[in-house]
Each structure stands twice: as C-alpha cells, then as structure tokens.
Amino acid sequence: GPKVLQIPSHQIIDMGQMVTLNCDPVSNHLYFYWYKQILGQQMEFLVNFYNGKVMEKSKLFKDQFSVERPDGSYFTLKIQPTALEDSAVYFCASSLGGARTEVFFGKGTRLTVV
C-alpha cells in the first residue's frame, strides 16, 4: 500500500538545539499531519497542513514548532529550541482528502531530547 516515509527513525538532540523531522508523504496526497505520542500515552494531534498552509493546530503545537512543505520536497516539522518535554515519537501522516478519509501514517521518528 501507499507509504509515508520518515527520516530519521531516531534522533537524539541536546536541549535547546534545533531539530528538523522529515517526512516524505504519499505522492499524490494533499493533506499532511503531525501527531505526537509519548510512551504509554495516547496519540495526540499536532497540526494539519493543506495547500501550503496550516489549517488547524492543537495547543501542543507550541510557538517553537513550525511546519512547511516546499514544493516537491519533504513535509517537515521543526522544533527550535527543543525542550525535554518534546521527547516523544512523532508520526507524520498524509491523506488524499480531508476529514473522514483514510489517513496513512509513517513509522515515526523517536526524538530524545537530553
């Protein structure tokens, strides 16, 4: 089936540094998402992105977070500066349509902030 690729699978970074998580969504998909999962806790919506813009973001999407997808390239999540509580698995996802359509997830990037 369609694949969402996430690079890297694991990243360790010093607190206060910048990190960029990369996602290669399904090629013909138009909607892109980031979700955050802390070990043992539920998956939490961060942001959705369509037509070059953030459509909706949650309260977890702090001012230090930003997303972009320059034409034909990765959909990225940038955290600058990182904090200890940013340690989590970040899942990128994409879908062809908006709400109520199948969302495809990557394998996640495990971010460890030390």
């Binding site: 909607y31 806790q41 939490e44 959705n48 709400a99 997830f105």
Partner: protein
C-alpha cells in the same frame, strides 16, 4: 479529560476465539470513527472505519459496531489469529473539513496459538 476512552487496556485470547474491543466518546460532533492497527516498530494502519450514519460495518473477520445514542463503538475480530497480535486504537474525527483524529489509549492484543 480524555475524549475517547478505550477498553480493555490489554487482552489475551486464544487462536480461533473472538476478540471484542470497546470505545466510548464524549463529543457528539464526532462523526467518523476509524480503528487503527499498529505493530511494534510500525505506524498505525487503518483497519476499518465507520461513519455515524451507520451502525455496523464488516470487512472480513473484522466488524465494527456503532451506537450513536450511547456514544459507544466496538471492534469484533472473529477467528482471531496470532498475526492479529498488535495494538488497536479507536479514533474519532469531527465534522470539520480537515482531519484531526482524536485517539484512544489503545488496546494491546495478544492472540496465543
């Protein structure tokens, strides 16, 4: 406050048995309910989904039931197989144009041969 509650947290069944997972939700504006299956080291993958206008949807060994009045849904797996061992998440999406899945905590299922 957790908007989507899922139970049980973990479950063990024998091969060939029936697995039943349940979910309840708070927000009456939720109208789309996907169930995702996740294997270790993988991302969640859509298993089956249901819209709030339906009360049942079946796909092979997997059936999801929806009760709008009680704000509950369930996932039934008949003839459970060891390969079904995974974590199962129910989720809910709202009436807006943009997807924003709200997730349960997941059920860890083990099917013993």
């Amino acid at each position: 406050q957790q908007q989507v509650r899922q139970s049980p947290q973990s479950l063990t069944v024998w091969e060939g048995g029936t697995t039943v997972l349940t979910c309840s939700y708070e927000d009456s504006t939720f109208n789309y309910f996907p169930w995702y299956q996740q294997f270790p080291g993988e991302g969640p993958a859509l298993l089956i989904s249901i819209l709030s206008v339906s009360d049942k949807k079946e796909d092979g060994r997997f059936t999801t039931f929806f009760n709008k009045r009680e704000k509950k849904l369930s996932l039934h797996i008949i003839d459970s197989q060891p390969g079904d061992s995974a974590t199962y998440f129910c989720a809910a999406d709202n009436v807006g144009d943009n997807s924003k899945l709200i997730w349960g905590l997941g059920t860890s299922l083990v099917v013993n041969p």
